[in-house]
């Protein structure tokens, strides 16, 4: 019996050593898109816009977060926009909404308006602190964006499983649109 016990204990120690040597990739990297907005303040005016989009993309390229590629903002799903814009008075340019805090982290969006319509919505910041938040943000963001562009307003459906993020996204977007109406 003791011989078997010694074998079992050695095997366990070896297995634990292997297990502990495994490291998950560091997830504490902040949102790739959210890095630069810190300097801009909570609500940036339309004037700051054009350059910011570019820097945001650069940050995205340099940040280590792997799945960033899935959200490449280059391909704007250019709105079919058959529906008339809600109240037609949107000024062209880019407006950044306020940071809205959720239990899981901050949410902030940036709206690009061209021809008086919502042409694109980019998430400047989404919760990315935990791998689960990251996963939710990754799949919720494209849905929320296309919903917003389609609706031409902040009245968007909640994405299932991403309730908090959806609500915060809508609020930041609403504030940005209000600002764009001046």
């Amino acid at each position: 019996m003791p011989k078997r016990a010694i074998i079992a204990i050695s095997a366990t120690a070896l297995a634990l050593a292997l297990l502990f040597s495994f490291k998950t990739p560091d997830v504490q990297v902040r949102s790739s898109i959210g890095v630069s907005n810190k300097a801009v303040g909570v609500v940036s005016g339309a004037t700051a816009a054009p350059t910011r989009t570019a820097t945001a993309q650069n940050d995205g390229a340099t940040a280590t977060r792997a799945p960033a590629a899935t959200r490449a903002p280059a391909v704007t799903p250019a709105p079919a926009a058959t529906a008339a814009p809600a109240s037609g008075k949107l000024k062209n340019g880019t407006v950044t909404g306020p940071v809205v805090q959720t239990r899981f982290g901050p949410v902030q969006v940036e709206v690009t308006i061209s021809g008086g319509k919502v042409a694109d919505v980019t998430a400047v910041e989404l919760p990315f602190d935990h791998p689960r938040s990251q996963e939710i943000s990754d799949y919720a963001e494209p849905i929320l964006r296309s919903e917003a562009v389609q609706a031409q307003s902040a009245e968007i459906d909640l994405v299932s499983g991403a309730t908090y993020t959806s609500i915060a996204y809508g609020r930041s977007l609403q504030a940005a649109l209000d600002q764009a109406r001046g």
Binding site: P2, L19, D138, G161
Partner: protein
């Protein structure tokens, strides 16, 4: 006559915690956990398949872990639990709760990845791989879960029959490792704890209390008791076929808080066998100078004890056991022993207070040779005015009633049985039979005291 209790012996400490307090505590925490789950959005999205799987997975994880902690406390040998419930009921609960918690944790391990996969629109294998490789400590948790499953499988009846006690116990110890491995991912990944410092504090608190109970009661107290009293084998006496009495001597035994009806879990520190612990009732009332254990060779490891060397040091856990005079509710007492189950009752016959006529012993054995302590019992009975009935022989013997421990037989032997406390010890079928008879005779459950050894 005041019975044979010696003054000056230390009595076990009585804990003020009642069974109902323990139950209230358990339910209170269960409600708190459900509230936590709701507050953290677990129930927020039960309409969709993804939300349902994720939410349920989260709830099962919480309750599975809660049950794991209960499991540990149940086996911590905490005197405040043992006193209210008895070690046999705790062990039965441990078995039931053990399987329940493993089922819940397995459900969590399946549902959570399924929920995440559905939500993200990925296939299950891809999602599972992502969880294992990119979520911190999920790989550890998966290893821990595998150990939990191994412990459960090794405890299923079919497996238990094939495994030796040592192998089964060795596997069981891995449950501690599993608890440790699964802890980290809860705090870092768990939806309830990653973002809520209060919840995290509460959860860590539950773990800390559990670990404290184990360290104090399972390890600390036995080590202290063993070092204090330094028990050694002083004498070994053959009592009958395959039955020996082992006399233990040590320091300050008048300070050891043990009473008749209780037992010690003993490890005989010899070269072979020190890793195996046995529960043994003391078979004579404690006298402050020595303790006597009586051991039957059950064909397993206890065979070795038939010729344990004099002077062997003994590490003890305990005393445990609620089959004591403290349970008494009536003036008169009936003791019913089956086979080697006589050991605690032999000590009680000596110690329980009572006037002549108050104490009756029924001692059932298959063969005359299996009646141990016969001359001792007769001597005590004469001294104390107790009545003893020996029921010897296989069932159906010409000189035995058809049901030796049936209601008819018991009421003939002890006509006033309904006005007695009944202390019961023996093999399980025998105890079940006696309990049935006593119910028929109108003896309430509160009057019947019994304990099975389960380790």
């Amino acid at each position: 006559m005041p019975g044979n209790v010696r003054r000056g012996l230390v009595r076990p400490q009585a804990w003020s915690l009642r069974a109902s307090d323990v139950v209230a505590l358990l339910i209170g925490n269960a409600v708190l956990i459900a509230a936590m789950w709701v507050r953290h959005g677990g129930a927020g999205d039960l309409g969709s398949a993804a939300g349902l799987a994720t939410g349920a997975g989260q709830l099962f994880a919480l309750y599975g872990t809660y049950l794991v902690l209960i499991e540990l406390v149940l086996m911590s040998r905490s005197p405040w639990l043992e006193q209210s419930f008895g070690m046999d009921r705790l062990a039965a609960a441990h078995r039931w709760v053990g399987f329940a918690c493993v089922w819940l944790l397995v459900a969590h391990g399946v549902l959570t990845p399924v929920g995440y996969a559905l939500g993200a629109g990925r296939s299950l294998p891809v999602e599972a791989w992502k969880l294992l490789t990119t979520y911190p400590f999920v790989l550890w948790a998966t290893a821990g879960m595998t150990l939990f499953v191994a412990v459960a499988v090794s405890s299923m009846r079919a497996a238990r029959r094939r495994l030796s006690y040592e192998t089964w116990h060795g596997i069981h110890v891995y449950a501690y490792l599993a608890v440790a491995l699964t802890f980290a991912h809860q705090l870092v990944v768990g939806a309830d704890f990653a973002d809520d410092p209060m919840a995290r504090l509460y959860w860590i608190g539950l773990y800390a209390l559990t670990v404290a109970a184990i360290l104090v009661f399972r390890f600390g107290q036995p080590i202290r008791t063993s070092l204090r009293h330094r028990l050694r084998v002083a004498n070994v006496v053959h009592e009958g076929p395959g039955v020996v009495s082992i006399y233990l001597a040590g320091r300050d035994l008048d300070q050891l808080a043990i009473r008749s009806g209780q037992y010690l879990v003993c490890r005989f520190l010899a070269r072979d066998g020190w890793w195996r612990a046995h529960p043994f009732s003391i078979s004579a009332a404690p006298n402050g100078e020595w303790l006597r254990l009586t051991v039957k060779d059950l064909g397993d490891d206890s065979a070795r004890l038939q010729d344990v060397a004099l002077g062997t040091a003994v590490y003890i856990e305990g005393p445990y056991g609620a089959l004591t005079g403290a349970r008494r509710t009536m003036e008169r007492v009936l003791l019913v022993a089956g086979g080697i189950g006589i050991t605690p009752l032999r000590a009680l016959l000596e110690e329980l207070p009572g006037r002549p006529g108050d104490l009756t012993l029924i001692y059932r054995a298959r063969r005359e040779a299996d009646l141990v302590f016969r001359s001792e019992i007769d001597a005590i009975a004469r001294l104390r005015g107790a009545t003893v009935h020996y029921l010897v022989g296989p069932r159906g013997s010409w000189d035995l009633p058809a049901e030796p421990l049936g209601a008819d037989s018991l009421s003939t032997l002890v006509p006033d049985v309904a006005e007695r406390d009944v202390y019961l010890c023996g093999p399980r079928p025998m105890m079940d039979a006696v309990r049935r008879s006593l119910r028929l005779l109108g003896v309430s459950g509160e009057q019947v005291h019994s304990e099975r050894f389960v380790y």
